[in-house]
């Protein structure tokens, strides 16, 4: 009886449901594993461009340790449940897990779940990375902070590339993500990305494209040719990659010659900035524009060296200033005596009015030895060990205008010559110790130069004379291999072998040799006296302060040696740079070329503070260009330009992708030999996307006709645009629903969609053609009918990039 009828269970012969379809799709697509494998290779290949940005291959293990689990988990999830959202979300979770396991093992629960304290640790690691970025030149040491940033970035890139290549099946577009990986290398490394990394990345990318295309063919059930859109996108991406590797380095001054050992001119954190000024010193010297102009006015009779910081710990691969945060004393209005300084000192009290302008550094410039600094903004603290002054609140010297009172000790040759060797207990061990790995050449050279001498002053003079001798050549470019531009005991040994380098090498080597000879030493970083402007200002007490200007080309390093009872004494071993103090001049210098340096560097006839003019300075003077002293700094402009360019790239990325897709469809649809059905499908997909971009996204439950009706009504399409839309819809219907036996076109082609049931509107077929002009007409009508805000959004944030309609085609 009918009353007993109930809903029947699903019959075995029932058509396949969506679950079965999903299972079938899953069973039919094991090839996504291949694509994911290719994604792994491609991202690792792109990451190889980081060699030189960080120490070569130090990134490899943590990066693969991050990428492999993430991509493996994504592929597994995709095997169980194909889709876009779930694998991506799981990939992100896996990324967090792998990062926790590698970088936050102690703060993680079960090793993979970030637990209490993770946030602090991440902040610490990020701060460490920030310091590294700010204070080091490439290749930077792979500390945990940098590795965390690299692993997180590459993990995110890998997820994006996998999403694009595997889930969205747009592998060509994933090339843009790979370009992002190469940008740091293109900006930081002197030679750009480098040919080997570029070739490897391109090959891996082609492999990814091939794997994805192979999968497409498998899914399509036939071995077809790659679509022209596929190839076209690939070519565009490759061109963009070439632009990054070739053009971007050209945009950054200093890369064009390719002669510099390493390190870029680009310092996005300002001029000569950083916790470790020594590492950017080489770049500053090579800067042809002399950025970071500083002016100072002083009443000193002798050339004023503006000192920022000193290096005294000579252990480790790179020398870095010791911040000694805990030992510092807050407040610089009154600065006490330096440790080891004599109780009573004679000398001139010097007032120096300094305006740093755009020079940004946590270390304050001041003449040695400062006694008081006033008019300074921010919190500053001074170090009793070396009298360096550092911002303690994250501030910097940028835009400071302050007055320093300092005392210039009266030093004479005689006074220094009277100093006898001592045990050196007056200063801490860090100023006199040599690391265990001190190269042999340093010790033997010291022995050769000063082994026969007894008094520290004689030894110091001997070492200075040796370094200023004819054997050594001042050169900014001589050391060409990586690592030489920095500091460290190895670099000093290499300098003694090459006998060519610049102030960092001279000063560092003299300091090391002095310690080998038993004299405590340190390397001071700062500026040579610079150039007199001729202006005079009135300082405290009516003193006349003569004005000088310095810029990055005056950046300098010099050794300071400690003499018991006298204090720290500046020497000048670098030929052609700086000024040899009167007490350090030596009449019997072997080769005697530099005894009159002070004359050459005399800004006022009595003091020595002009640019050197000896032939050995050609590297420095040759680079004086129109952007020299007095010109606005180039670096900030360049940085701003690059940031704007990067921002523009990000903003325009959706527009670019959308344009690429449109162009690809257009080329495919208008290509000779493209089947009519495929062309019509492409044209309709583009039309649907254009509608979606303008806020009329097709609903999944809409048929082409109902979508056409709604679009024409809501967007106000009429006349030619409505006809075009109708033709496009009709062509798509034939492609999608008609029998495909005849590729030449449909026999029946109603122009108008019928109103169901309407007898009088039954339309007879009349042939129409497909034309990309129809797509253009509809798109133009949509634009005309949309307000400006919608038009802008449609261009810059096209919704079709992330809506389902975009998947109607690859």
């Amino acid at each position: 009886m009918t009353s007993t009828l109930s809903r029947p269970a699903s019959a075995p012969s029932a058509p396949p449901d969506s679950g079965a379809e999903t299972r079938a799709l899953r069973q039919a697509d094991p090839w996504h594993w291949l694509v994911t494998g290719a994604v792994l290779l491609t991202v690792v290949a792109a990451a190889s461009s980081l060699n030189g940005v960080v120490e070569p291959w130090t990134w490899f293990r943590p990066v693969t340790g991050t990428l492999v689990p993430v991509l493996l988990v994504m592929a597994l999830v995709r095997t169980v449940r194909p889709g876009r959202v779930l694998p991506t979300l799981v990939g992100l979770v896996a990324l967090v897990g792998t990062l926790s396991a590698q970088f936050l093992p102690r703060q993680s629960i079960l090793g993979v779940v970030p637990g209490p304290g993770s946030r602090l640790e991440v902040r610490r690691l990020l701060a460490m990375a920030g310091e590294t970025v700010v204070s080091e030149v490439a290749p930077v040491l792979a500390d945990p902070g940098i590795l965390l940033v690299i692993c997180a970035s590459l993990g995110a890139v890998a997820i994006l590339v996998d999403l694009l290549s595997t889930s969205l099946r747009m592998p060509a577009a994933s090339g843009l993500a790979l370009i992002v990986v190469m940008i740091p290398a293109a900006i930081v490394k002197p030679a750009g990305v480098g040919m080997s990394a570029f070739v490897v990345t391109v090959l891996a990318f082609l492999l990814l494209l091939a794997a994805a295309q192979w999968r497409e063919n498998r899914l399509a059930g036939a071995g077809g040719r790659p679509s022209s859109g596929f190839v076209g996108r690939s070519l565009i991406i490759t061109a963009a990659a070439l632009a990054v590797t070739v053009a971007l380095p050209q945009l950054i001054p200093g890369f064009t010659s390719g002669a510099f050992p390493q390190g870029s001119r680009l310092n996005v954190w300002g001029t000569a900035s950083g916790l470790n000024p020594v590492v950017t010193l080489g770049n500053d010297l090579r800067n042809p524009s002399g950025s970071g102009r500083i002016t100072y006015s002083t009443n000193s009779d002798s050339p004023v060296y503006l000192r920022a910081v000193t290096l005294e710990d000579f252990s480790g691969r790179r020398w870095e200033p010791d911040q000694r945060i805990n030992d510092r004393e807050e407040g610089v209005a009154r600065i006490g005596a330096e440790r080891g300084a004599p109780e009573t000192t004679t000398g001139q009290t010097i007032y120096t009015h300094i305006r740093t302008q755009s020079y940004a550094s946590p270390w304050l410039l001041s003449p040695y030895a400062p006694e008081s600094v006033i008019d300074l903004a921010g919190n500053w603290a001074w170090d009793p060990a070396n009298l360096s002054i550092m911002a303690t609140d994250g501030g910097s010297t940028a835009g400071q205008d302050y007055l320093v009172r300092s005392r210039s000790a009266s030093l004479t040759k005689e006074g220094l010559a009277d100093v006898r060797p001592s045990a050196g207990a007056a200063v801490p061990e860090v100023f006199s110790g040599l690391p265990a790995d001190t190269p042999e050449i340093v010790l033997t050279t010291t022995d050769d130069v000063a082994g026969d001498l007894v008094d520290p002053y004689d030894k110091a003079l001997a070492i200075q004379s040796y370094l200023r001798g004819p054997e050594f050549t001042y050169s900014l470019e001589a050391p060409v291999e990586g690592g030489y531009d920095g500091s460290g005991m190895g670099v000093m040994a290499e300098f003694l072998e090459l006998k060519a380098g610049y102030c960092v090498h001279y000063a560092g080597t003299m300091a090391v040799m002095a310690r080998a000879a038993g004299i405590p030493s340190r390397v001071a970083i700062g500026y040579t006296p610079g150039t007199a402007t001729g202006d005079v200002e009135i300082g405290p007490g009516g003193l006349e302060l003569e004005q000088f200007t310095v810029d990055s080309r005056n950046a300098h390093a010099w050794p300071e040696l400690y003499f018991e009872g006298v204090g720290w004494v500046r020497f000048e071993p670098t030929p052609s740079r700086g000024v040899v103090p009167a007490y350090a001049q030596q009449a019997f210098v072997p080769g005697g070329t530099s005894a009159d340096d002070s004359d050459a560097l005399n800004p006022r006839g009595v003091t020595d503070a002009v640019e050197p003019t000896t032939p050995q300075t050609s590297e420095a003077t040759d680079q004086d260009g129109p952007g020299g002293t007095g010109e606005p700094a180039v670096a900030p402009v360049l940085v701003a330009g690059l940031l704007v360019a990067a921002l523009a790239l990000v903003v325009l990325l959706p527009l670019g992708l959308r344009t690429l897709r449109t162009g690809s469809r257009r080329r495919s649809a208008t290509a000779t030999g493209t089947p009519v059905q495929e062309a019509a499908t492409l044209a309709w997909a583009e039309t649907s996307d254009a509608a979606a971009d303008h806020g009329y996204a097709p609903e999944p439950t809409e048929t082409p006709r109902s979508f056409e009706r709604r679009l024409a009504r809501d967007a106000g399409l009429d006349g030619g645009a409505a006809d075009s839309l109708s033709r496009l819809r009709s062509g798509y219907e034939h492609a999608e629903y008609a029998e495909q036996a005849d590729p030449s076109g449909p026999a029946l082609h109603p122009v108008d969609g019928p109103k169901p049931g309407s007898v009088r509107t039954v339309a007879r077929q009349r042939p129409v053609a497909q034309s990309w002009g129809d797509v253009d007409a509809v798109t133009a009508a949509l634009r005309r009918g949309s307000p400006l805000s919608v038009r802008i959004r449609a261009r810059l944030l096209p919704r079709s990039l992330w809506t389902r309609s975009g998947r109607t085609l690859r």
Partner: protein
């Protein structure tokens, strides 16, 4: 060099070359147009009903017209029958109608001394079953068996019905007194059910005017013969149904079966009939392929009378048509290219 022309041009739209694909021909179009125009001269203001009736005829189904008395159900059936030069019989179903009154009887012929079969009114190309729900269940079953089997078996002998064979049954709503509602299984035999509804004011006024003096049926002349209709049915059968349309149809059927307010969803047979009706609808549109729109357009007429609402839905005043509409608004339209 590939000699094939570019599929799409950058220039303005140009006429495509004529193609030779098969599909409904001009005769199909002409005849169907004439039939519909003829029906509209009698049934004014009901183009949808007339078109649906023709659709069911071409899809080789049977039609159930359900509505209150006096809205033109029988007139529609008669008019459609008269536009075709074929045999037409009308059965007025009453409570005392016997099955043999429908199918025919065997009578002993004294001369030949043999039983001779006297065909009943069901032996015609178009059978109009008026007020089918006034007959007993037994008589209803006899007719419905003929509809399904296209044959009549009496005294062990099978008599094949004519071709085409279409039953156009009318029934009053089951709330009316003296009616026997058709069981669900038997309603399933009807490809489509339509409600005529009242004509609008203008059409009703026209009707009063035109029907006052003459019987409009008298002016109806046959515009097509049986061979024409058979050929049109053949053309409808050849209409192409793509995989995506089949998937869409199946998805609609499954959605009705899984619908929380339905006790009984669409049967596989109903989906088959939906597809056939959609093919006829497409052919009437001049297409040789079915669109999802055809499926959607036919869904209410083909599916609604087969669905059984549960008590909650019934008490809430839901209707099967509303649920079909809701299902259509939820089921995604399958596309071949998306699965590629």
């Amino acid at each position: 060099m590939d000699a094939r022309p570019a599929a799409v041009t950058d220039q303005e739209p140009q006429p495509a070359p004529p193609t030779g694909a098969t599909g409904p021909d001009d005769a199909f179009h002409d005849i169907s147009t004439r039939i519909l125009e003829a029906v509209e001269t009698v049934i004014d203001g009901k183009p949808d009903a007339a078109r649906l009736a023709l659709t069911v005829l071409l899809a080789q189904g049977h039609l159930l017209l359900e509505d209150v008395p006096g809205v033109g159900k029988t007139m529609l059936a008669k008019t459609l029958a008269r536009t075709i030069d074929c045999t037409v019989n009308r059965i007025q179903f009453t409570p005392d109608l016997l099955p043999s009154d429908v199918t025919g009887v065997s009578i002993f012929d004294q001369d030949s001394r043999r039983f001779e079969f006297r065909p009943g009114p069901v032996f015609a190309n178009i059978v109009i079953g008026d007020e089918i729900n006034r007959a007993s269940a037994k008589t209803q079953s006899a007719l419905l068996e003929c509809m399904e089997e296209h044959q009549v078996t009496v005294d062990g002998r099978t008599h094949v019905l004519g071709d085409p064979f279409m039953v156009v049954a009318t029934q009053n709503p089951i709330e009316m007194e003296g009616t026997y509602p058709l069981p669900e299984a038997q309603r399933d035999r009807f490809m489509a059910r339509i409600s005529m509804g009242y004509p609008d004011a203008r059409a009703e006024a026209d009707m009063l005017e035109s029907h006052q003096s003459v019987n409009p049926l008298e002016g109806i002349r046959a515009v097509a013969g049986v061979p024409d209709v058979i050929d049109m049915m053949r053309q409808v059968r050849s209409v192409h149904v793509s995989e995506s349309v089949k998937h869409y149809t199946v998805a609609i059927g499954r959605a009705t079966r899984e619908h929380p307010r339905l006790r009984l969803g669409a049967s596989p047979r109903s989906l088959l009939q939906l597809l056939r009706a959609a093919k006829a609808s497409a052919a009437l549109e001049g297409r040789d392929f079915v669109l999802p729109d055809d499926i959607a357009a036919m869904s209410d007429a083909v599916l609604a009378h087969r669905l059984l609402l549960d008590r909650k839905a019934t008490s809430a005043g839901d209707t099967a048509s509303a649920i079909v509409a809701e299902v259509l608004s939820r089921v995604p339209v399958a596309r071949q290219t998306q699965r590629r």
